[in-house]
Subunit: 188 residues, 2 copies
DNA sequence: ACCTGAACACCGTTCAAGT
DNA sequence: ACCTGAACACCGTTCAAGT
């Protein structure tokens, strides 16, 4: 199926992805598309032909990451402590969403917009987390009155906050455990 | 001191603030400055003369809100239940940061950037919350290993997540109580 | 002292013209 | 089938020229 594309088109697609990875690493999720095309040595129209939207480009950049996160959920589903398994996975989601500045926002938008080119990947990730949450709730290790969407919104919210904060680099982890065990102190 | 300004300048300032309130209500914190100047019937240079940065404009738009939040903290400092007082105040912070789309982000950025025209207001708000937190921690009703900055980052993160979510309108409150009492279920 | 708007350097996005 | 880049409609920001 790779051979079904013209060699020059295939080449341009690769050049664009490499350029995008660089530019997004430097400037975050809302990096200039023009700049990406320039780095790839390609016309701006070529970028649009291969990736009709910014979200489609991000999807191509991130799909392996989402795959990995889904696979991790499958593994953790077999871990003995269901509550700990969920927390571990949420930590990896938070860490993963920190790979590019602005990524928590892109994921959050994609989840809310079914027409987004990034929606399928994000929805898949969400339902993988949903299985972990469900098990933890059935075990009684996590409160039963929260939905997957809420838990993910919470985690991405913390990742977002950590990303525009000057505090220590383990802020995400700190915020996550605070939210996991509660701000309120009930004699731990 | 109001009379120290030329009448036309004073007038333009008011026109700009009214226009800004409208435009920001419609398009959020990153509303077009050009659009604001247009609505005010004023040249773009006049906007920059009165408000050298977007943050300075937001400050003028929001200072009364920050004052109110600081005043609320003073009142709540006298409430009997220190933990409940903190939660109430954090709820009001979350609600207040939802008045304009993008406001959680503006506040978060302002807290991290001391040169921001919005920094003083936000830092004042933070230290007011800090008093409430301190009292709650001394009472033992809130865990002692969190800072004000962390608590505020957490709340703004949740407000941000709620703002770009399709869920019910009480999502902020739900996320806040989850974070307050913890996602983990320890037999409530 | 204050106001104006052209000018500059950028965007995202589309689309006619080319190979 | 694919590529190119001019064109369009926007930005934020500055600054010479006006009153």
């Amino acid at each position: 199926m790779t051979q079904a594309f013209r060699a020059d088109a295939r080449r341009n697609r690769d050049l664009l992805l490499t350029a995008a990875r660089e530019s997004v690493a430097e400037h975050g999720t809302d990096a200039s598309l023009r700049d990406i095309a320039r780095r790839a040595g390609v016309g701006i129209g070529t970028l649009y032909r291969h990736f009709p939207t910014r979200e489609a480009l991000l999807e191509a950049l991130l799909n392996s990451n989402f795959d990995a996160l889904r696979a991790r959920a499958d593994v953790l589903l077999a871990a003995p402590d269901s509550g700990e398994a969920l927390l571990t996975w949420l930590g990896e989601l938070a860490a993963g969403s920190a790979t590019y500045q602005g990524l928590p926002e892109s994921i959050m938008n994609a989840l809310a917009d079914e027409t987004s080119g990034l929606h399928a990947s994000c929805a898949g990730m969400r339902s993988a987390g949903g299985q972990l949450l469900k098990r933890a709730q059935q075990d009684g290790s996590v409160r039963s009155d929260v939905t997957v969407s809420e838990v993910i919104a919470l985690v991405l919210g913390l990742a977002w906050a950590a990303e525009r904060s000057v505090e220590s680099s383990d802020l995400i982890a700190r915020l996550l455990t605070t939210a996991m065990f509660g701000l309120a102190d009930r004699g731990r």
